[in-house]
Symmetry: C2
Subunit: 120 residues, 2 copies
DNA sequence: ATAACATTTGCACATATGTGCAAATGTAAT
DNA sequence: ATTACATTTGCACATATGTGCAAATGTTAT
């Protein structure tokens, strides 16, 4: 007589409980994990990464930024908003122009966060 | 008499050509930029980031990985494929089980790449 | 007030993508 | 050969998201 398939897919069972517990410790702080993911995600899009890289040496206005990354002002402005919200870039207004630059503090914080997790 | 609007949006004109050229230099190597973005994107998704963080201390089989990141085997396997393709993780087969671990070489390469761009 | 122009934003659309079910694959044991 | 089980994969679906046009906003100058 055939036995019923009880667990068609490994779903509930754990093979090495210790290792699993150890792994879970690494990702226990959900907020921090999500924050890290958010930063990675922002840098994980070519246009946004180009923007950030372009700003490493000097501040640029939106217009020049669009030229540098070979896109258009609207698209760049949309992406700048996301980078601004995450504090990866900051801005300075001068008349009609707006100059964006890297928010060193937050970028460095982000890098620190990465290192913490990879260097222990 | 009203003048015609010639440039309703700053599109073609460049304000500071020097700075733009300098910025373009930073992103001249398109392949490298895309490769960096690809790595960031992979780490920019909570499930995948959790997987990578879980693997920092020790290798885990797919089943335990699913338990650790509180997901299911199918989803984790899908994401592992992406991480595998990018060489962020490697694997070792043992009977029916497959143990995944961080591909230190490539992770370190990735971190180096980030540092290069941010520390000059 | 009107014009010019840099930037932002609302909207819509096409595309990418994370997810999980169900089936397939692969492996070990009986 | 058959059973059991870990993993992978094909598929479909819901959702997220990058993009650019057109309009709105804000600022300077005439």
């Amino acid at each position: 007589m055939k036995k019923e398939k009880i667990a068609p897919v490994c779903e509930v069972e754990i093979v090495d409980e210790k290792k699993v517990a150890q792994a879970q410790k690494k990702i226990a702080d959900t907020d921090q994990v999500l924050e890290m993911a958010e930063i990675f995600k922002l840098l994980g899009e070519p246009t946004r990464l180009k923007i950030v890289l372009s700003l490493i040496n000097s501040e640029l206005c939106v217009c020049d930024l669009a030229a540098a990354v070979d896109s258009n002002v609207s698209t760049v402005s949309h992406q700048l908003r996301l980078l601004r919200n995450a504090r990866l870039v900051k801005y300075r207004k001068d008349g009609k122009m707006v100059f964006y630059s890297i928010d060193d503090k937050h970028i460095n914080d982000a890098i620190e966060k990465i290192k913490e997790h990879t260097e222990e």
